[in-house]
Subunit: 221 residues, 2 copies
């Protein structure tokens, strides 16, 4: 079994990505970043998902991006409502995927994992620059110049984003029908209510609801 | 004054880099990562250096790379002694500069700083892959695909490594003679003694001693 590091946030996309990686026989090392996000609730979901997938190891690493701010997820900015309409919304976290993938790269090198998986998707998404294929390719190129094992020729790193061309509905169908995932374990909402419930208004809630509706699947989350 | 984020470890190279950035008129935002390094002592030096340079802000961010390990600086591996002899030594920390530059990139985007400075040098160094010009160029290319401000065309990020082609002696001369830096504030040793003194044996101590000797400057550190 070849090892793979999976960035696991606790949402639908990273859960499905981890499920895909497991289904093709990788030994899963799940990495969750506690970045002091407004919806830290998702970390509890990541733990349940990691356990349900029987991962080899689940590492939860603190990187307090609230010290940097600049996003509705890591500061007191108002949370935008509704879907992406052309401008990148304030839920964009500066360099988040770069910081996360860099950390994944470090761990991958230590454990000898050539494959890094991220649940990035360029369809039904919020316009984040660090979810686009050209960005992921540039990260991969950089990663292979950055590391001892790659420049020694021992390991080549691949950044895998198997959902990149899938809609939320396609992702949910694949997870439910092909992979047998339980999305009741996952968490999407960016702005949980004081009672700990999804707000139903943020873009992540909206995309989730739209995805389940289009997939014809009941959301048990 | 244009803003710049400087990765400031507390060593000679990052101090000199910050001094250069300040000397050309940048407003300095210093970023120090507490990565649970064996030589966390260097963070105290970074604080003194930041104060002496009158930086606009000094951010110290925790990223516990000891949870990942894989290096003599972040685990209980034996510390190698002496200088680089062809093989990358165990003081290499997997993806360290990538993790640090990514964090710097996030902060730079938030504060609108196009310039990021790192004290990487490809001469008198330890063979680290993430100190080479081709790596830094690849990071810069990736960074400009990763961020909202870059893809919107508002800001182009530059990764500056002004010491890249300088020997340690050249760096020390420049800092002492041209920039008036006080290297007594800096810290280099990877493996401080229990009394908090430099070990004199690790590669970082060796390069420091060699650099001061060749520069003909007394080390007050």
């Amino acid at each position: 079994m070849s090892r793979a590091v999976i960035l696991l946030s606790g949402g639908i996309d990273s859960y499905t990505t981890a499920g895909i990686a497991a289904s093709i026989g990788h030994e899963i090392f799940a990495l969750t970043i506690d970045y002091s996000q407004r919806h830290r609730r998702e970390i509890e979901s990541a733990k349940k998902i990691a356990a349900s997938l029987g991962v080899k190891k689940h590492l939860i690493l603190n990187i307090d991006l609230r010290q940097i701010g600049g996003s509705a997820l890591t500061s007191d900015m108002d949370m935008p409502e509704g879907m992406f309409k052309g401008a990148i919304p304030s839920t964009y976290v500066p360099a988040r995927n770069t910081i996360f993938l860099s950390t994944a790269l470090g761990w991958a090198e230590v454990i000898g994992a050539g494959d890094i998986y991220i649940g990035a998707t360029a369809i039904d998404y919020s316009g984040y620059p660090d979810c686009r294929p050209e960005y992921l390719k540039a990260f991969e190129d950089m990663a292979n110049l950055a590391t001892r094992l790659s420049i020694e020729g021992t390991l080549r790193f691949r950044i895998n984003a198997p959902l990149i061309n899938m809609s939320k509905a396609q992702i949910i169908k694949k997870g439910t029908i092909e992979l047998g995932l339980d999305y009741g374990l996952s968490w999407s909402c960016y702005d949980p209510t004081v009672d700990g419930l999804p707000c139903g208004k943020c873009d992540s809630c909206i995309y989730r609801a739209k995805g389940f509706k289009e997939a014809g699947v009941i959301d048990k989350g």
